[in-house]
């Protein structure tokens, strides 16, 4: 704790500020590509699990259960070591993007599935009766309605994804956390624990906090609107009873 108020330690961090920025950018870059991958996988498997075809649903189920019930750290190690020991070396960032994307893709697909299933069955039937194809039904009718249910948990997943980029440390990555750790243990730079951890914590916080605030305000607004719609119903029912 003493290093927090030591000027020398803060100067050390200031001298190496470009290193921290580089780590920050690596984290953001990894997170960005992983989010894109997870969105694609999430949409694909979310649609598969609501398709009503047994085989497709089974594939999506196995993917989601298997990925959600094993730790991300294990998946990232498995991918990285399996590739490197079998001779097809995969770069650290690439294996990070793939495994983090696949991991959060499972969560995204559950979010999208829940969103689609929240739309009443009648909407699908109505669209079918009007001659909409499957993709047109999804694109024009179902997804626009479910997007407001999907978005808040999806943003929460993005926050988790950004935090999970710290997994890259175990395979020797160069993301913010790994850089901070090698900074505080390095031969020339070691010792400045307090300032270094504070700086990297603040960097994560300024990215994640606005996103999670956005998600929770969105969710609260949604709940408030729901409560308003529910409040009307008992009034109608009371009339029925009398």
């Amino acid at each position: 704790m003493a290093t927090l108020v030591s000027l020398e330690a803060w100067l050390k961090v200031w001298t190496y500020k470009s290193t921290f920025l580089l780590g920050f950018l690596t984290t953001l870059e990894t997170a960005l590509f992983a989010v894109l991958l997870s969105l694609c996988l999430g949409l694909l498997f979310g649609l598969m699990s609501t398709s009503g075809k047994t085989a497709l649903q089974a594939v999506a189920r196995v993917y989601v259960e298997f990925i959600q019930n094993t730790p991300l750290l294990l998946q990232i190690c498995f991918l990285y070591y399996a590739m490197s020991f079998s001779g097809h070396s995969l770069s650290i960032i690439a294996s990070g993007i793939i495994s983090i994307g696949v991991y959060h893709g499972a969560y995204m697909s559950e979010v999208i599935r829940a969103g689609i299933q929240s739309i009443p069955r009648g909407q699908f039937e109505a669209a079918h009766s009007q001659g909409f194809s499957y993709l047109a039904t999804m694109y024009y009718i179902i997804l626009p309605q479910s997007i407001k249910i999907i978005l808040p948990p999806m943003v929460n997943q993005v926050v988790n994804l950004i935090k999970n980029t710290s997994c890259l440390y175990i395979i020797g990555g160069s993301d913010l956390i790994s850089i901070t750790y090698s900074f505080v243990t390095g031969a020339n730079t070691g010792g400045a624990h307090g300032p270094a951890y504070l700086v990297s914590g603040v960097m994560f916080f300024i990215i994640c906090f606005p996103l999670s605030m956005l998600a929770s305000t969105w969710e609260n607004n949604l709940k408030k609107r729901e409560r308003l719609t529910f409040k009307k119903e008992p009034a109608v029912k009371a009339e029925d009873l009398s």
Partner: protein, 258 residues
């Protein structure tokens, strides 16, 4: 090719290695259970403070709870593990040999577990707060009309209902915590994930072929994945069972009312 696979599988037949992995599993489960239990206690306090400390005199506690929850929720667990490894003090009771571990291992385990507990408690605080918010406001008024004071209202009326509502979410949080506990492998503690990594890094000695093959990666990580999957999948089946029963009960209640 075939020999490599049988050599890797042979590693799992060695009782010493199996015991090593199983002990790691036990530590994973124990660490996660302790983290969740202490997380529920700490998290409930945080949630109550964040939700109900509105009077100007105690407002400072509310701000502290909000800051705690938001800071831990928006920074990675690994950062807190590193911070605790450097800064967390270890009481003397934990700083010696126990459970067949060396002093270094127990102190490291204690520090890393503290990080996991702090991190988990912030997540659980938000879960409990969701439960508190789901209790209808009329319950407070009813309790006040019956002469309950604030503490009695909380203990006898609000908290039991809030916890009942969040039992499935808390169980899912155990799954998440078991997965999160694998982060402790980063500082080489003694739970499942780090033990498997340790065996892999010395697999050339154990498998008898003299070097580490890709089959070792598959066998060892496959074994760890199977263990994690069995524990977590069993828990998620329990969650699903509870949810299904509640849904059935709710719809039965609606039909009975109609």
């Amino acid at each position: 090719m075939m020999e490599e696979w049988s050599a890797s599988l042979g590693m799992l037949q060695s009782s010493a290695i199996l015991l090593y992995i199983l002990k790691g599993t036990l530590f994973t489960v124990i660490i996660s259970a302790i983290a969740v239990i202490l997380g529920v206690i700490l998290g409930s306090v945080l949630a109550l403070v964040r939700n109900y400390c509105h009077s100007p005199r105690y407002r400072i506690f509310r701000y502290a709870a909000v800051a705690y929850i938001e800071i831990f929720r928006n920074t990675p667990l690994l950062l807190w593990i590193f911070i605790c490894v450097v800064f967390c003090p270890v009481p003397d009771i934990f700083a010696h040999r126990m459970f067949g571990l060396t002093t270094v291992e127990t102190t490291l385990l204690f520090k890393a577990s503290i990080a996991l507990i702090l991190f988990t408690s912030s997540v659980i605080a938000e879960i409990v707060r969701g439960g508190l918010n789901s209790v209808a406001a009329g319950q407070f008024e009813a309790a006040a009309s019956q002469g309950f004071n604030t503490v009695q209202t909380m203990v006898y009326i609000i908290l039991p209902q809030a916890f009942r509502n969040v039992v499935p979410t808390l169980l899912s949080q155990i799954i998440t915590t078991i997965k999160d506990s694998s982060y402790l492998a980063n500082v080489a503690t003694i739970e499942l994930m780090s033990r498997v990594r340790q065996i892999l890094s010395t697999a050339n000695i154990y498998n008898g072929t003299g070097n580490i093959n890709v089959s070792d990666v598959f066998v060892l990580y496959g074994c760890a994945a199977a263990i994690y999957f069995i524990i977590n999948f069993a828990l998620s089946l329990v969650v699903r069972h509870i949810n299904a029963r509640r849904k059935a009960a709710a719809s039965a209640y609606r039909t009975a009312k109609a």
